[in-house]
Symmetry: D2
Subunit: 349 residues, 4 copies
């Protein structure tokens, strides 16, 4: 049963109106919703974009499901607790929090029910000035991070952490290959470095590779100049191949990754970037004892482990550019242009 | 340095002469080879066929590598130790043994060097009356098994064990799907049953399904009659999907398997049966957190664990038909016809 | 905020009044408590005893903590959902359920907060005619089990499952040693058997050993007649030792277990039976690469996996004796006498 | 069969003559032994001491076994390949190598036979000018290490690597506690730091703590000044406890470690330092779901993973002092004094 609403201000939120496409994102205003048992109202300060968000806005995401219009976009956001529902024990007013990508994947394995709790998928996302969360769907921000930085964590960072650290069991001295310089790749680079691994980054841009090098990348390959980058990777590893690949290209690059991976290595399959079917010869998966592990973000338990590492190392997420709330559409267009390195953020308040 | 050769008899072995194809398998006779330090001479009593052997004979196996003609075929065989080289400690004359598929994958992870020690791949196989092994490349047969039964274990049984038990961590109460009724599938069925799992078998033949049921299969699907078997599998599991799939169809069935698997399940990719590239949409791997684990046989350590289980349960491999040594070609042709259930064996002596 | 109370009947519950000791268990009657958001009222039909319950009643449990009197005893119970609070989605009226031992350990690792949610520890237990649970703290009973049988699962069965299957990764063909024939031991025997393991049971009673044999135990040792049972265990395993030990004796038997375990084996430490300090030489833990794994029940996720196995195998918990609600004290005294095999149950209604 | 001996020089080796005790270590000279099939002669350049070596010389090691006198002491040494036996493929003359602690634990799990192959236990150790190894019992040294540094790796470093990285699965952001500043502790500190963990070091000496801090230790506790160091550890971790403890004190400190560890944490039991029985209350192991994992060095596979990390990070083992071959006894006495931090090395040639 809902507590009386204390919030005076109205809520402003972007929604996809009637049709898909960036142009159909419109700000609407509404009365604050009541907060129920165990719920918390958060004043959103920042949100960040993932490629998934662009696909959702374009109507290209998960074609199996009927994707609704009308939803608030963006899964990743951070803000401040401003009001507590009855029975809340995890937070107090003033706490700095981020929302979980999967609101109900708290620990253990994912299941059907948890998988349906993704923000901005079938329920409203965070591109809004205020949002009501169940307290279980929030996590405290590391103290040294700004709201803009905290807003980058829920999807991209947890995905990279799950792929390499939680599921991948990365060890110091191993070699990781990351593809491109988007959000997941740059977090994968950062987490690999603090774990003591060697990192090979491939990208189509020398300028981006130079920036990756500053972030600690050990080896750089421009795959436009070296279309057979998998051969270069084998050379860099004395013919052995790399231990882990953060695979973002889908079917299109998986064939090359299967050449670049070592016997018994792990390819973490993340990329919905390409999103389409492709010709794959699965024989190398078998002949090389490779594990192709699908990684779809992760649980709050993983998020907590990741935050401990981020806090200990005073790690700062790499933000490419921050757009004001009023220019949210430009943020989507900027992501479309693929010119960013790291995360694109929208400052809400 | 080699010990004096005690063996009086000549050795008879099949070899692929000049060209690929079953018709080019010819028996040749040669003097017994000397046995060196740590080596053991085995009088081969039986060998068994895997689909890989048929591909090798046809010249279709691993097209990346230049596959040589002239090799003795078949990786899986069992026999009796008849002579010991200097320094041998693991065996004595009279011991009943099988050869490892990978002669030097004893324990731990596979690596480049171990992966090159597969019998009948780049080194001679076991379709021969006598064969010299390094003692490390042999394992004792479970006492209750005949040589014909023991000869079925090295590739198909170890593959199924690795997929489900060693790598897969199968638990009682979980559900396994196996495709078809070849050697790996039937071992997967047997190992799943002793581990307390539920097994769904799909096959194109009602008669084979009936035999699988006698071996303990809980649910049977004729995929010719139910081409959308993945939907049937979802129904049988109340919409949840199965925990493990022993995938033998390669690209052609993987797409359906990705529908039939549960969130977070494991698909053990084994089948070189199709062996060709195919259109795969990798998105479900990601969205369902699936692990697609390539399984290429396994180590002696896994073989030992498997033998302990086979011994405890007095498990008998399922042999479809035994051919005499003189009719080895017919055995290959019989495999080609795909009418078998379980293993095809050649009795050597 | 609480829903209106529909329950007309008063609640009858045992409580420890003022002092510790079985004699101080007294039935008290109270008005039904209101049910809040997400809560469920369960009409309790049966409860079962664990040794922990006896220690709690005696005031011997966890001497570090100030243990309160006044609590309702027993952690394990089963019943029927009779009333739903607001927002409940997991259950409907009429569902047959058991309560989780740790009300908030749903999945993943245990933590400080979850560890404080054990029933009958610092919060009321289940020896009551009605009890209000949060819906997350309940699990559906396997359909083939009676309430009496279902009431045996939450502590003893989940502990055995966690020890051997979830944490222990038991494989078919491995050997398990269980100590005694109490609740955990008998479940360990049953779960080992469906997983295809060999089981050695040690007990002080030939009669109990005979009953364990009927339940599938492969080898039996009377440790009164064979005080050096660890030597017998080594013989039974050809000098190798067993793969897993379900250790219930604490310091007093751990030294022998460290002789009986194989190199690299796992000893699941469960027994608070002895509960006291003892002289241990930790060197064998080190020299044999042994894992001594503390097991304190487990999560709902483990419980669900266990229930799937129990349902598939139509497994029935072994109940030694059922006492009526009015004779609950006799049930405690009976446990004190140590003459039971399997579980002691109290039928509530 | 042995190759002709090419080595002209005689071999000088320390041996324990007739009685135990440092004073009974005597250099003896002998003709070079022949090298057999698969063997390699190594000119030893350096050896290092472990506490086990001191116990062996004192006759205090593994009292269960009849420990022989007459053996060459020290398990850890490094040198140069000077001669190859027949059939050697892993090394060539001139290669820089270290010997494995367990000569035949190459990969996978340890077993009875592998466990009997420890150098200086039941077979001769490395305090000798030349030694014949089977090629499988050697590993290449990281290129940036001197022989003195390489000689520190086989026991202490592999033990720390196995405890924290291989078995322990340490993750960035976790907290490790190491006890003292001996060889294993300092390697544990170094490996924890490159893996991104936080490290708490306890020691009886402020001066040693200051040196540990220079090596990266995050928190320092003098356990002489803070005998209740476990309380301090809880404070440093906000009451949660540490994730991993490298336990070197045996029974004497294990009780405190069980207070300092977090719920579900791992205590790697390593210390034969105390070596004696002690009073332990095992209840906290159970109540906290702790894993007490015995760690007895490790396999070549682990050593290879560790060397990759050491090479990538250009890590240098911490050597306290180097003694010349002629002063080997002083090296043992120096270890007895416990005044060292890191490793004590003997330069052989």
């Amino acid at each position: 049963m809902a507590q009386a609403v204390k919030l005076a201000q109205n809520v402003q939120a972007y929604r996809l109106v009637e049709k898909f496409g960036i142009d159909h994102l419109v700000v609407s205003e509404s009365k604050p919703e009541p907060i129920g048992h165990g719920q918390v109202r958060v004043k959103m300060h920042a949100a960040s974009l993932n490629y998934r968000d662009l696909m959702i806005v374009r109507g290209e995401y998960n074609p199996n499901l009927r994707q609704p219009t009308g939803l608030v976009p963006l899964s990743d956001g951070a803000g401040e607790v401003v009001e507590l529902g009855e029975g809340v024990t995890r937070f107090k007013v003033g706490d700095r929090v981020a929302g979980l990508f999967f609101q109900s994947w708290l620990a253990g394995e994912c299941d059907e029910q948890k998988s349906k709790s993704a923000l901005a998928g079938s329920i409203d996302g965070v591109l809004t000035t205020y949002k009501v969360f169940h307290e279980d769907g929030l996590i405290s921000l590391p103290a040294h991070l700004s709201y803009e930085e905290g807003a980058t964590l829920p999807c991209a960072a947890v995905t990279a952490w799950n792929a390499l650290i939680f599921s991948g069991g990365l060890r110091a001295g191993e070699t990781v290959l990351t593809q491109g310089t988007g959000g997941v790749s740059i977090f994968a680079l950062q987490f690999s470095k603090i774990t003591g691994a060697r990192v090979i980054v491939i990208s189509s841009s020398d300028e981006k590779l130079a920036r990756a090098e500053k972030l600690g990348a050990n080896d750089l390959i421009n795959y436009k100049k070296n279309p057979n980058w998998e051969i270069k990777v084998k050379e860099l590893t004395r013919g052995r191949g790399v231990d882990h690949i953060v695979e973002l290209g889908g079917a299109s690059t998986l064939t090359k990754s299967l050449q670049a991976i070592r016997l018994g290595g792990q390819i973490s399959l993340i990329g919905v970037l390409s999103g389409k079917s492709g010709e794959i010869n699965p024989v190398p998966i078998l002949m090389k004892n490779v594990c192709v592990q699908g990684i779809y973000v992760g649980s709050r338990e993983m998020f907590e482990g990741m935050n401990a590492a981020i806090s200990l190392h005073k790690l700062h997420p790499v933000i490419d550019r921050v757009f004001p709330f009023a220019e949210a559409k430009q943020a989507f267009s900027y992501m479309e242009s693929s010119s960013h390195l790291g995360k694109i953020v929208i400052k809400i308040a």
